[in-house]
């Protein structure tokens, strides 16, 4: 069932010569039998792949350790990427030159933008993905990444050493021990073990330890983390059965076709790999009262549901849907798993009933009367680490240079995992180079919202991204992720390639130019009315309107404007993306003006750093209640802004903290002056001596 193939043995998996030579170089320079890497990533799931690739892009010699190389890029749950909120995350991962968006543009079988009629701020890019292609393309990306080495092996333990005195943390990680006893030295370690920490797969009343069906869990590592003092929680998730395609009667079901043209995920792509007419369709069916009956009659055979582990507020399984919203039809989406796959994924039917009952339940659904289950649905229970124990750069408070990313932090979803992976990879690399961390604020991206929520609030249910979590939703749009993150990624982290940087720069310049040209064109409202009769411009307005004002009207787009005023607007319609982005900027311009002020205010609070070595429990100069001390001690906010978002930290406590920080700053300045004086004195003495 589980292959230990290659465990602890070096695998020449890297396809490029350059990479191979680097591996050799690194083993030459380190101790003969202990290989040495800048960054070691444990786990080859969505977080791990992105983390390893990001660290390597940043210039770190990186090792990706995974149970099995052939599971890299495996989509172990739904066969789709993106969606509302999640699509936003993917655009941001792409803006930082991450992998998943580009791989999805090469592997999708059904591309569709959700929320197309609700405003561009909440468009949700999504695609059904061919599992096999995704895995194949992802593995090719990973194995072709310069500076990145992949090795199969299970990690049993971490090697720890004395902490660096200038940072907090009780020890520092400096390597890992594999199952076969061999060791790897590392400057930074990223843990992306997903559901493998004491993972338990549940079908009906059967339970067996496994990270996912067919893969063994990590127990040694879980024990190590607990011994180190990490606070561990338990979450559960589930996946539906897979159904044989030919056993479904699609002819009686609602067919849903993909978009034409397809919108790619990546800023680097004009189009996707497959033509709309070659793409596959999805089908919609519904549950019925008979499904409710089967679920309710068999609750006693359902260990996953009987468990009292606090479940999420939303309904991940058909059981919770039936229990919480009885007597309703629930949607079931039948999604293709790939071009040549005979499997259909019934989205919405996550179930942990015993396998034979799953078949019984499924066959009472319309279109599925003769459905054959190829693999039953199952539940997974696993350990996660309270994410309030990590910093916004995803480094743990307890162990220096140890980073966590993905489901281990209590999130769910490929996109959430990928987003954390990129951030962890960048920061693990920056840490090795002793550069300041790369932190994304909640004003800059959904990635920032995700990490800020996790690190200040923690989570008690698998955390999933929604656009309602983002207070600056109008600014954090899928269309502008590049202007929010690509430049920072290029300059501060070095994780962005030159071509991407140039492309983003060009787009930025064109946008700015386009907006100023639009602002400069002015006519009276009656003149505009004559130029563009389609627009519902009200004539009562006496003032002159700019072309930008007119572009705000729902009926107006750049094409229409350029038709009315070809010179100088024609050239801005040549690039479809540019024309669309100009329209979006116009739509939100006035609302964004107010949002910008608020964003600035939040950023100012975030510029107020709290010293990282502050011991809140014993701090004497600040009057804080014990409760607030406990909370600050646990979450260790890095800025006044983050502290103010921790539930239970009072306004008065914030002001006290602020005063403390100000006093400290003053003291620091004084000390520096003193030191300079001292230096000057020393210099004088030196001169004397020389004389």
């Amino acid at each position: 069932m589980f292959s230990l193939r290659g465990c602890g043995r070096w695998m020449a998996l890297s396809l490029t010569k350059q990479n191979l030579s680097l591996v050799r170089l690194s083993s030459d320079s380190a101790a003969p039998c202990t290989p040495h890497f800048d960054v070691v990533v444990i786990g080859g799931g969505h977080a791990g792949s992105e983390a390893a690739a990001a660290a390597a892009r940043c210039g770190s010699r990186t090792l990706l350790l995974t149970h099995r190389v052939d599971t890299i890029g495996q989509m172990s749950c739904n066969p789709s990427f993106g969606g509302i909120g999640k699509g936003h995350l993917m655009r941001e991962v792409d803006a930082l030159d991450g992998l998943c968006s580009r791989v999805c543009d090469q592997s999708g079988v059904h591309y569709k933008v959700l929320n197309k009629c609700k405003g561009p701020a909440v468009w949700g890019l999504r695609a059904q993905i061919d599992r096999k292609l995704y895995k194949q393309n992802m593995q090719e990306e990973i194995l072709n990444t310069p500076l990145l080495t992949v090795q199969e092996g299970a990690v049993e333990d971490l090697i720890l050493t004395e902490p660096e005195p200038e940072h907090m943390g009780k020890c520092r990680v400096c390597g890992v021990v594999l199952m076969d006893g061999s060791t790897v030295h590392a400057e930074s370690v990223i843990l992306t073990t997903g559901t493998f920490l004491r993972g338990l797969v549940v079908i009906g009343l059967e339970m067996h330890p496994a990270g996912r069906l067919g893969d063994q869990p990590s127990i040694g590592l879980a024990q190590t983390l607990e011994k180190l003092g990490f606070v561990v929680g338990r979450l559960k998730t589930g996946t539906p059965p897979r159904i044989a395609k030919e056993s479904i009667d699609f002819s009686i079901l609602n067919k849903h076709t993909p978009d034409n043209p397809s919108v790619p995920f990546s800023f680097m792509n004009e189009t996707v790999w497959i033509k709309p007419e070659d793409q596959l369709s999805c089908y919609l069916t519904h549950t019925n009262p008979r499904v409710d009956e089967i679920v309710l009659e068999n609750l006693h055979l359902n260990h996953h549901i009987k468990e009292t582990t606090r479940g999420p507020r939303y309904c991940p399984s058909i059981e919770s849907k039936v229990l919480r919203f009885p007597n309703r039809q629930h949607q079931v989406w039948l999604e293709p798993e790939g071009l040549d796959s005979n499997l259909i994924y019934p989205q919405g039917l996550s179930v942990t009933l015993p396998a034979e009952l799953q078949e019984k339940m499924i066959t009472c659904i319309r279109g599925l009367e003769k459905a054959k289950i190829i693999q039953p649905g199952y539940g997974v229970q696993y350990d996660y680490l309270d994410p309030r124990q990590i910093t916004p750069s995803l480094e743990t408070h307890l162990v220096q240079r140890l980073f966590f990313a993905g489901q281990i932090n209590g999130t769910t979803g490929y996109e959430e995992a990928a987003a954390q992976g990129v951030v962890a990879g960048i920061n693990a690399s920056l840490r090795v180079r002793r550069k300041p961390p790369f932190v994304i604020s909640r004003t800059e991206g959904y990635i920032g919202v995700l990490i800020d929520d996790l690190t200040t609030q923690g989570t008690s249910e698998p955390y999933r991204m929604f656009t309602s979590r983002a207070e600056f939703r109008l600014s954090l749009r899928p269309d502008n992720a590049d202007s929010r993150l690509t430049f920072r990624g290029y300059k501060e982290a070095g994780c962005v390639s030159q071509p991407r940087y140039e492309r983003a720069s060009l787009m930025k310049a064109s946008l700015e130019e386009g907006l100023s040209v639009l602002k400069s064109i002015e006519f009276s409202s009656s003149q505009w009315k004559a130029l563009i009769p389609e627009a519902s411009i009200s004539l009562s307005r006496n003032q002159r309107l700019s072309a930008l004002d007119v572009l705000k009207y729902e009926q107006v787009d750049m094409e229409l404007l350029a038709k009315a005023i070809p010179e100088p607007l024609k050239k801005y319609t040549d690039c479809r993306e540019l024309a669309q982005r100009l329209k979006i900027e116009a739509t939100y311009e006035s609302a964004l003006f107010y949002q910008q002020q608020e964003i600035k205010q939040v950023q100012q609070d975030e510029a107020l750093q709290l010293p990282e070595d502050l011991d809140y429990l014993t701090l004497r100069d600040v009057s804080l209640s014990d409760e607030v001390r406990e909370k600050l001690h646990f979450s260790r906010p890095q800025t006044i802004g983050a502290a103010s978002r921790i539930p239970g930290v009072t306004p008065a406590a914030i002001v006290n903290l602020l005063r403390f920080v100000k006093t400290q700053q003053k003291r620091a300045v004084k000390a520096e002056l003193l030191q300079t004086d001292q230096c000057l004195c020393d210099a004088d003495k030196l001169e004397e001596r020389q004389l």
Partner: protein
Amino acid sequence: MRSGLRTLAARAARGLRRLCARPASGAPAARAGSGATVFALSSGQGRCGVAVIRTSGPASGAALRSLTAPRALPPARRASLRLLSDPRSGEPLDRALVLWFPGPQSFTGEDCAEFHVHGGTAVVSGVLEALGRVPGLRPAEAGEFTRQAFAHGKLSLTEVEGLADLIHAETEAQRRQALRQLDGELGHLCHGWAETLTQALAHVEAYIDFGEDDNLEEGVLERADSQVQRLQAALSAHLQDARRGQRLRSGAHVVVAGPPNAGKSSLVNLLSRKPVSIVSPEPGTTRDVLETPVDLGGFPALLSDTAGLREGVGPVEQEGVRRARDRLEQADLLLAVLDASDLASPSSRDFLDTVVAPLGARDPREGGQRLLLVLNKRDLLAPGTPPAALPAALPAPLLLSCLTGQGLDTLLAALRTELAALCGDPGAGPPLLTRARHRHHLQACLDALRRARGSSDLALAAEALRAARAHLGHLAGGGGPEELLDVIFRDFCIGK
């Protein structure tokens, strides 16, 4: 750093909600400046000939000009006599001294204006309301003036040490003030509005996040829209109605409480110099809360007589006890009255343990309620014998006889000290300002609702609803993203 603190403070006063509290919409003046401009009544609540209203922030000059139109700004830092009039109706408000302090040479370091108006309630509230209508101006949050001063380096760090206490105290005072305002009909209205709007917003958010994948029932948006429409109508009706004058319960709230038959009603009658409450030797005579405005040593106060606190009596008296406890929550100053000759009785002991002791242990400087412990019926004690010893942790009691009037002078002196402390703090959310704030946020909420309904882009509409909910949040609290998600997952079956 500078305005960071200001926003922080503003956020602090809002109770750290994460969801968007933004400036009033369509405020062109806000475009010019960097931050908000705030106003507040800066003089105390005591009876006074002149009241001082202050503004601070970039729109101060505009505010001063618009109230003193058509005249130009007065010379800097020189008192000038001007006619103040309502910028919208042109209706004259008062002839007043105005001062113009361009920043940074001002108390807060920003542009400031001061209006010294005649101290009557009508004038003060008229000017406050007129200021509230100047674009870019909003009522100050607790401690905001001091915080602005701090942010602009106008206060030393030692002066700032008191700032956290001040914020805490003012927040507490405002909370009590809001509680009073929200008590009764207006409160029910506000909470009802907030609940409706939360639901409408949550449903719109659900439609955005889950409308495509999960089966929300038909007509979610239409229902939300009709809810918003009804809310719009309710709010504008309320705002028009409130213009005709809403009774102000001005002054410090002094609540007389204690076990039954301790002489609370006698004390109320004595202090108000009129028979407000029926007095009888029978315990449980007072069953409802009786309030009367009084003037105590020059300070306006609202005196409330409450039912004696005891358990296990009839339903009517039980209700009276419940109301008494509610009123205790809202008190600025509690007059705890006990029978000096009956301190060992269960009802006295219970009152001392559950009401007096917890309050006595708190520091009034932190904005907690103030307390005076009165032992009535000293005439029943044999001359020269002290009353039974009280636990050491309690504040020193004042001995009084409502029957003979003995000890009344001492009590009045003590009352004066307490009220001076209470009313002397101008920032402590006086009712006039509370009311201006109330109107300001309701109006801003209404504007945002209008924008929401007029927007064809759903993301923009939701944004306006968030802003509207944030404004109601200032009055009724709540509305954060977690609360919205709770509503979403309660009302809809959202799958994975």
